[in-house]
């Protein structure tokens, strides 16, 4: 029980104090049990206040602190840092959110907002009083990585991981490495051959003693967790014999790739005639005759491409754009033209997405005389297969939707990328979440693009979604940097807010293990009886186990029943605001004014008037602090009240004018 608590109530430069009577709240908080220091400050997050908090903690021997300000999303780390610098355990700091949860939504009722703020802060004080000092969980990590899939992304990642000294186990399901890259002849930009590139990577992999490559190998069983994954793999030995091996790795990188969309029977005539083929099949045919395209031994004179087959299906399974197919098809068309001078090509597309430098391909292809016709999903081309001939008719949106017909010797379906059928096995073995498109999901597409919600398991390349070779390598290399940041230290630090088992109460019924999505609960024998044990490396502290426990033997640290109940008591306790203070409060801040914007905004608006002014000029003219003006002006800018209007002569400050 903490008995020397410090409470800091933030004005947030008016965001809170314009609606909540922070001075009165501070007076009331002083009286709370265990509170030694209670202060109201203009900006709790300001450096000056942080220093003051540190000296309070040290001088007054505080054992817990409460900051009542904005959402914990913004400043948890700031105040945890303050606690640590002052020598206090960072979990003895509790945040009360009196801005997003109080002053902003209740700006029309300042008195009620003040009441609610008192309740919120009291609840936080109660929680602080019960708060425990927690230590981060440290796990030893093995400096080894299991890379699943030896395509271009996997091989490149393996080579780079090995280069920084990590032991790599590279496993591949097929007998050969290189994946889908092997299907490509000349690659765009560099002009290299896909097979050569794969061979080059393979020789690098083989030459590196830190990499062990297992081909014709599949994953059998996964146990362990971040830092210490234990993966049983089944390796095919001579003949049909297989042998199971156990690989230990601190981290796992999944680069299992994609598979081509397989057109359905009679989708654009597929399967009805050998003249209808997919793009990968076309590439194969080109390879057979050294680039010369033949059909039944005769040179092909005209070729049609239908784009977006198996992609962008607004009603189908594959709603996404496969990104690579436009460029791949057009690049193939250019390669074809080199060897087949008389070949006429017609591209039936929905939108050409040769983004970035790939635009060059599109320009070249149209300049070489390829015909492009645009169709819409609702009016797809109709392929008529009769005898040995095919006829394609399409409503060309570029020719005022005129019905245009042609009879190509070969029709190529430009198929998209779909998730591999076997990716669901990997997903269930590692518990990687998959999206609606069946590709693996990252945590955050922008900020955590290669991390999965499973600690220590990363994704790279096109198992995550359609990517070309460059993008696949980019993503697997960014996973490499995340992996080495995680395991290179040898120690992994984890948040200690996890579930805890009361060994006396637990009788091991297994219900908790059933609901746990992270496999964090296991049965163990303890003091002669069976109880549950929490694996600190995998537990996420989600709390799903606590309500299902019939013995009430589980709790999540920092969110124990005792803490929650005391917070409720604190929140529900009666709030008595002295008569005088109520009078003053309502007089100063009338609800009508507050509905619009704070007084200072009005002053700023009238100060700017029809001219434009810099922040120092405004501060001077209304006699307010420069920082305060800055803060308000930024908010006004955000809400489109003012806008920047160029810089002053010294290029020191922006001018601001009113936005009308």
């Amino acid at each position: 029980m903490k008995e020397r608590i410090g409470v800091y109530i933030c004005h947030c430069g008016g965001n809170i104090s314009d609606y909540v009577d922070v001075e009165e709240v501070q007076q009331l908080m002083k009286e709370e049990d265990g509170v030694v220091v209670a202060k109201h400050v203009m900006f709790a997050c300001a450096d000056s206040n942080q220093k003051e908090m540190i000296s309070d903690i040290q001088d007054q021997h505080l054992d817990a602190i409460v900051v009542a300000s904005c959402s914990p999303k913004l400043h948890t780390h700031t105040f945890r840092g303050v606690a640590e610098r002052a020598g206090l355990n960072k979990y003895n700091y509790i945040q009360a959110n009196i801005r997003e949860q109080c002053s902003w939504p209740h700006s029309d009722k300042p008195l009620d907002a003040t009441h609610k703020a008192v309740g919120l802060i009291r609840a936080a004080i109660k929680k602080a009083a019960l708060s425990e000092a927690l230590e981060s969980i440290e796990i030893e990590a093995k400096d080894a990585c299991l890379v699943i899939g030896a395509g271009v992304a996997g091989m490149k990642a393996a080579i780079e991981l090995a280069r920084i000294g990590t032991q790599v186990y590279l496993i591949e399901k097929e007998a050969h490495v290189g994946g889908k890259m092997l299907e490509n002849g000349t690659l765009f930009m560099t002009g290299e051959d896909g097979k050569d590139l794969a061979a080059r990577l393979l020789s690098e992999v083989k030459a590196n003693p830190k990499i062990t490559l297992f081909t014709e190998t599949e994953i059998e069983k996964v146990t362990g967790s971040v830092g210490n994954f234990s993966v049983d793999v089944r390796v095919r030995m001579a003949g049909t014999n297989t042998e199971t091996m156990k690989l230990m790795a601190g981290s796992v990188l999944v680069t299992s790739g994609y598979q081509h969309y397989q057109p359905k029977e009679n989708e654009f005539g597929y399967g009805m005639s050998d003249r209808v083929i997919t793009l990968p099949e076309l590439k194969k045919r080109m390879e057979e005759n050294n680039g010369v395209l033949l059909h039944n031994g005769k040179p092909v004179k005209s070729l049609g491409f239908i784009y977006c087959v198996g992609s962008r299906q607004s009603k189908g399974e594959h709603k996404y754009c496969s990104r690579t197919c436009c460029s791949s098809a057009i690049h193939t068309a250019l390669l074809l033209k080199e060897k087949n001078k008389d070949l006429n090509m017609v591209h039936l597309y929905r939108d050409i997405r040769t983004y970035g430098k790939q635009e060059i391909l599109y320009e070249k292809s149209s300049k070489q005389g390829d015909i492009y016709m645009k169709y819409e999903e609702k009016e797809p081309p109709v392929v008529d297969v009769s005898n040995d001939n095919i006829s394609v008719s399409v409503k060309d949106y570029l020719t005022s939707k005129k019905e245009i017909e042609f009879k190509p010797d070969l029709l190529v379906l430009v198929t998209g990328m779909v998730a591999r059928d076997d990716s669901k096995d990997i997903a269930s073995q590692f518990k990687i979440p998959v999206g609606g498109d069946k590709f693996f999901n990252e945590i955050h597409p922008k900020l955590k693009p290669v991390e999965t919600v499973i600690n220590g398991v990363f994704i790279g390349g096109s198992c995550q979604g359609p990517k070309n070779i460059s993008e696949s390598v980019q993503s697997s290399l960014s996973a490499v940097s995340k992996i080495s940041a995680l395991i290179k230290d040898g120690l992994i630090q984890l948040e200690p807010i996890i579930a805890r088992v009361n060994a006396d109460a637990c009788t091991w019924c297994g219900k908790c293990a059933e609901v746990c999505e992270y496999d964090a609960l296991k049965e163990i024998t303890f003091n002669g009886k069976q109880i549950a044990e929490v694996n600190p490396a995998t537990c996420k502290g989600c709390g799903i186990c606590t309500p299902v426990c019939p013995q009430d033997a589980l709790e999540v640290k920092m969110y124990t029943n005792e803490e929650i109940e005391s917070m409720i008591d604190g929140f529900m306790a009666e709030v008595v605001i002295p008569e005088k203070a109520v009078g003053e409060g309502t007089e100063e801040i009338s609800p009508v004014k507050m509905k619009e914007y704070p007084q200072l905004w009005k002053q700023i608006v009238s100060s700017i008037g029809t001219e434009h002014k810099t922040i120092p000029e405004i501060a001077q003219s209304i006699g307010a602090d420069k920082d305060l003006v800055t803060w308000h002006l930024m908010t006004m800018n955000k809400y489109n009240v003012v806008m920047a209007d160029g810089m002053d002569e010294k290029e020191q400050y922006y001018y601001y004018k009113l936005k009308i």
Binding site: N344, V346, S366, G369, Y372, M373, L398, S400, I404, E405
Partner: protein, 359 residues
């Protein structure tokens, strides 16, 4: 249902088309064109039909003739696909389609056909002169009579049927309707456009090439005047000082203006003179030679030098005959007719629409 014809885009390149393949159908050309409107939207549509090889749509369209090649479209094309040049090439192709003899197409596609034709005519004239069948005065007197006859028969045998064919393709085929009244109402358009090229002034409204317009207008009138003066007023043997001076003036204007046109084509001063097809060169150069030689012949007569320099007259006559038998019926001269008739037909075609609009 239209069928793609891969060969057409290759064929049209022989008529001078170049980079239209690069078009990605953005429509900037049509948007920027001062002459394109809802009834006749071009050039994007024409590029599209060319790319796909839908010849019927082009053959029945008057749009290529409604373009005066100001070059705005080519300048603003984000792909440098040169729509203006394609429209020009389509006009050549249309000319060959209208021509029932098929000679236009042959001449447009192959420069050697032109050269053979020119040589043949030159040799025939020189041969006839050498044979001494006619005296100098007969040559002088009947030379222009022959020209008149040639032009008249070219009109009757070739150009008139071609205009009918043009009408058949562009008016009858798409509408299958014939009402006589609009043909009378629109006749003023025919005459105005034939003699003034008024519509070209709408191109590039802000920076109209007025000098070009004036030069072209002068050229048209001088050319027609020279025709009248030599054929009907017998300039080379006239006694009238007025006719004589007028003859000098118009023939002078012809060779000065055409000299400037040649200069424009050499220096590629504007979009319209950037790409010169052989037929363009022959047209301006023969006009230049015609004006210059006519001027010189009359000068030699006035100075009494012609009798001893009769080769000059023969040169003049050769140019005239080559002009009348090759360039007028099958070459670029035809744009004088087709362009104005296109305007006339377009007016007729759009007439019900305009009347509806007025109500």
């Amino acid at each position: 249902m239209a069928v793609i014809n891969f060969e057409f885009s290759k064929k049209i390149k022989k008529y001078g088309a170049k980079d239209f393949d690069a078009c990605f159908n953005c429509g900037t050309c049509t948007a920027i064109c001062d002459l394109s409107d809802a009834d006749n939207s071009f050039p994007r549509k024409m590029i599209r039909y060319t790319t796909l090889g839908i010849q019927d749509e082009i053959k029945t369209s008057l749009d290529p003739w409604l373009c005066y090649y100001c070059g705005d479209c080519s300048q603003s094309c984000p792909r440098q696909a040169d729509p203006g040049n394609l429209m020009m090439s389509l006009r050549r192709w249309l000319t060959s389609k209208y021509d029932w003899t098929g000679l236009s197409g042959l001449l447009y596609r192959h420069m050697w056909a032109y050269i053979i034709g020119f040589l043949f005519i030159a040799l025939a004239i020189v041969g006839a002169f050498m044979s001494d069948v006619f005296t100098q005065s007969v040559w002088l007197h009947y030379g222009h009579l022959f020209e008149m006859l040639a032009i008249a028969s070219v009109f009757v045998v070739i150009l008139f049927p071609n205009i009918i064919r043009m009408w058949y393709f562009s008016v009858w085929k798409p509408t299958k309707k014939f009402k006589i009244k609009p043909y009378f109402v629109a006749i003023s358009d025919l005459l105005v456009h034939m003699f003034t090229q008024k519509r070209s002034l709408d191109c590039q409204k802000e920076h109209t090439d007025t000098l070009w317009y004036v030069e072209h207008l002068l050229l048209v009138f001088s050319y027609l005047s020279l025709l009248v003066i030599t054929v009907f007023l017998d300039w080379f043997s006239t006694e009238s000082a007025l006719v004589n001076v007028f003859g000098y003036v118009v023939s002078g204007v012809i060779f000065i203006v055409t000299a400037d046109f040649v200069r424009r084509r050499i220096h590629k001063t504007s979009e319209k003179s950037k790409f010169s097809h052989p037929s363009d060169w022959f047209f301006v150069i023969w006009l230049f030679m015609m004006g210059l030689s006519a001027f010189a012949v009359r000068l030699f007569i006035d100075l009494d030098l012609l009798e001893n320099n009769f080769w000059l007259y023969l040169f003049h006559l050769t140019v005239l005959v080559q002009w009348a038998l090759i360039i007028v019926p099958f070459g670029k001269w035809t744009h004088f007719l087709y362009r104005s008739f296109a305007m006339y037909f377009a007016r007729i075609l759009n007439m019900p629409a305009t009347e509806k609009g007025k109500k």
